[in-house]
Amino acid sequence: MTTTDKNYSMGKSMKRKEDPRFLTGQGNYVDDLVIPGMLSMAIVHSPYPHARIKGIDKTAALAVPGVKAVITGEDLVAASLGWLPTFHGFDKQMVLAVGKVLFQHQEVAAVFAETREAAMDAAELVDVDYEPLDPVSTPFESMKDETILRDDRENKTNHIFHWESGHQDETEAALAASEVIINEKVYSPRCHPSPLEPCGCVAQFDSMGRLHFHVTSQAPHVHRTAISIVTGIPEDKIHVISPDIGGGFGNKVPVYPGYVCAIVGALILKTPVKWIETRTENLTTTGFARDYHMDVTIGARADGTVTALKVKTVADHGAFDAAADPTQYPAGMFGVVTGSYDFPVAFTELDAYFTNKAPGGVAYRCSFRVTEASYAIERGMDLLAGELKMDPAELRKKNFVQKDEFPYKSALGFTYDSGDYEGTLDHAMKLIGYDDLRKEQAEKRSRGELMGIGLSTFTEVVGAGPSKHFDILGIKMFDSAEIRIHPTGSGIIRTGTKSQGQGHETTWAQIVAEELGLDPQNLLVEEGDTDTAPYGLGTYASRSTPVAGAALALAARRIREKARVFAAHLLEASVDDVEWVDHKFSIMGAPDKSVTMKEVAFAAYTNPGEGNEPGLEASLYYDPPNMTFPHGTYIAVVDVDAETGEVKVRRFLAVDDCGTVINPMIVEGQVHGGLTEGYAIAFMQEIPYDAQGNNMAPNLMEYLIPTAVESPIWETGSTVTPSPHHPIGAKGVGESPNVGSPAAFVNAVMDALSPLGVKHIDMPLTREKVWLAVQNAKAVAGD
């Protein structure tokens, strides 16, 4: 019998075990929970981006039938609940505004009522007396320190932190000696993850005073710890349950003021409280992403060999420093900005500022600022190719880290685990027919048509991460797995992660099934309940497979070791003579004498053998030795209509290398989803603020998310370079497409516009911006 006959072989496109409940409307989302007597909470938001609060009158709100209570920032301060630690660890955030509001839509009061409608009506009647102040709407204004935004801080400056990495002097010297230099300012705009299920929670205290907190959480254990720290409720009295989650993309990592208010409401009113955000609340107050202004300089020799990279960044963190970056990496993994290229020397520095905008920069489908880094370097390499009049593919090949150079230590200090950049690029160029496309482009250009081909040969860094580098609130970023195999060979798997659509119920079962030779259909996966799951840091930054996936494989191997003892007993052999071959135990040299894991599992409980500890379970905490570095080559082909500015994405090919693939169908699905979000970032999705600090995209009519109509059709391919340090060689993939694709789209459009002399347009490349760039270029050329 070969293992491929079996359902359990990893690498199979097994259909998802979780799907039937979603397909029949039986999913169990936070808003689906209804408890008798439960109150609804609504939040009062500031219409001003910056204003002093002179007074709050609750009278009219309290008079609305069904309203039970209204709480304000002052009330919370009185109860020592006025401030919340931010995940970044360097700052704290107001739960409800105290004294002044610092961004438009900031939470000012919370109303509790018998119905959602009554709560919303009453929220409108909370009378807040504001004295508007001048808003600071860009970090460039903020750095002048004319208006100090945070008077609660000791430091009377809007500057939050300075971070740098690499060698400044050596980089400057190398740049000065370079034969060619490119420099461009590129902006990665403020955008929002906007999962379709908004954030929300239900807080309930039981008769023993224990808090049961259902919440849309990507990191339930960290939420339990954070809630304990904020409220002072002992951690054992807090039970966090993260049920089915309707997408997260980083947005559901932080602890939000609404969660704290709901808990306070449930505590004081002694009845359960539900709070479900509106879409507007989600877009205007919860974790945004990006907002990095990057100044990129690359030096090179005339033959295209790069000599130095310098990137200076100004980051807009909004009103509180609530960016979800590990404390030891204040700018996250931005240090991967050298990308796939062997820069002999590099220097990057970043300054973060407060502004009157929503706080909470999160890793939106990326690992802590890798999207910004990847965009900067991939745009930079194309600008260099343009300057040198070299084909961008050729320039990249000249500068790739070579496959025999791994582990590779970058100029900014990351150690890349493995990769074959040239192999992946070659594969992609062949799949899409690169040479023919260039020929077609030349013909079209000769006719004045604007066709572009854009490359992105990115390197991601995921799997946060090694505890020596990564933490949230000081809690180290390991993850965990617990496996129990029942007597009949079925089992339950629990991890510290929490799927928000990634398909853990299937992939985790596949990993364990493969390691133990059991049927994945009978391995139940349970996550998100802090009473039962082992402590772990949750699911974001593509860390689940690199970290928890490794924990699962190793825990399964521990079970296998224990099972070997029972197998030896059944086979009447010594343990040392029993080996694991073809997903079963057999006697060395006598493969016919074998027992299956199912038989062994039964024995573990019925006939364990004299002196052997019965039972078959294991739990394990895994602290990875390093991050993993998936990579890929993405190629976009576009046609631009010079008359209208319309960009048509004719083809898009993504070739990903995420190491060992557990379920190809799920990987491909995640690539499709990530590419659609990457397309959104490149072409439409942005949260702009006007000069008065107004959020200009507070709902889905203004915040544009692509539909089936404009989304391109995705072509995919893959290469496999396993991670040498991961037990099964897997690297993680969910965010690679979102990290790698924006640059490919922008590079393609810039390539199309290059005959007109257009060098760069900041995302999103809306029709209007493209049209204007074309018009300007024509005016300059005197057409």
């Binding site: 259909k15 998802r16 979780e18 799907d19 039937p20 409940r21 979603f22 397909l23 029949t24 409307g25 039986q26 999913g27 989302y29 808003d31 689906d32 959602r116 409608e117 906007s194 999962p195 379709l196 299920e197 908004p198 089915d244 989650i245 309707g246 997408g247 993309f249 509106t278 879409r279 507007t280 928000q500 659509g501 990634q502 398909g503 169908m665 799920i666 491909e668 699905g669 995640q670 499709h672 989803g673 590419l675 659609t676 979000e677 709902n699 889905l700 009519m701 998310i705 539909t707 089936a708 109509v709 989304s711 059709i713 995705w714």
Partner: protein, 185 residues
């Protein structure tokens, strides 16, 4: 307005209305304020498959089918407007073990990830297939233009709808053949 007048007004206006919602063939009576949105009224019956994802009628998570073939965003309609109409929600489509061809196709083609948009996607597709049994990919995409998905991209959703369309067409042919031959085909 004097206090007395205001009091008379509040006592005179009964804020709730009794509606009977006919969902998946079953009647549910409910007292609702006239402004209550159909999406919330449906959810209040205990049928939670109809999701709410936005407050701007933009996401399509709440789509249900009216009178067998008309998709509506149930957050764009008041519950009182649904009186007397037949409402089909995702729960009326099929159940685990007896999935509708559309549900089966979404499963087969990996047309969902977090599942939040899925009920709306299924109901819009269901309504479309009542009118277009053999749509082109472009037609499917246009019909789904009011339904957002954040997780899957749309390739697999389109594939799923096409698979279901094919299955339903084959079913129809088989049924016709059966009818014509008295089941001896």
């Amino acid at each position: 307005m004097t206090t007395a007048e205001r009091e008379t007004e509040t006592t005179e206006v009964d804020p709730t209305r009794r509606v009977t919602l006919k969902i998946n063939g079953k009647a549910y009576k409910q007292d609702v304020e006239p402004r209550k949105l159909l999406a919330y009224a449906i959810r209040d019956t205990g049928l939670k498959g109809t999701h709410v994802g936005c407050d701007s009628s933009a996401c399509g998570c709440c789509v249900v089918v009216l009178d067998g073939d008309t998709p509506v965003k149930s957050c764009t309609m008041f519950a009182v407007q649904a009186e007397g109409r037949e409402i089909t929600t995702v729960e009326g489509l099929g159940q685990t073990g007896a999935l509708h061809p559309l549900q089966q196709a979404f499963w087969d083609q990996h047309g969902l990830q977090c599942g939040y948009c899925t009920p709306g996607m299924l109901m819009t597709s269901y309504a479309m297939l009542q009118h277009h049994s053999d749509p082109t990919d472009q037609e499917v995409r246009e019909f789904l233009g009011g339904n957002l998905c954040r997780c899957t991209g749309y390739n697999n959703i389109v594939k799923a709808v096409q698979q279901a369309a094919q299955v339903l067409r084959d079913d129809k042919v088989n049924q016709l053949a059966n009818a014509a031959t008295g089941g001896n085909a």
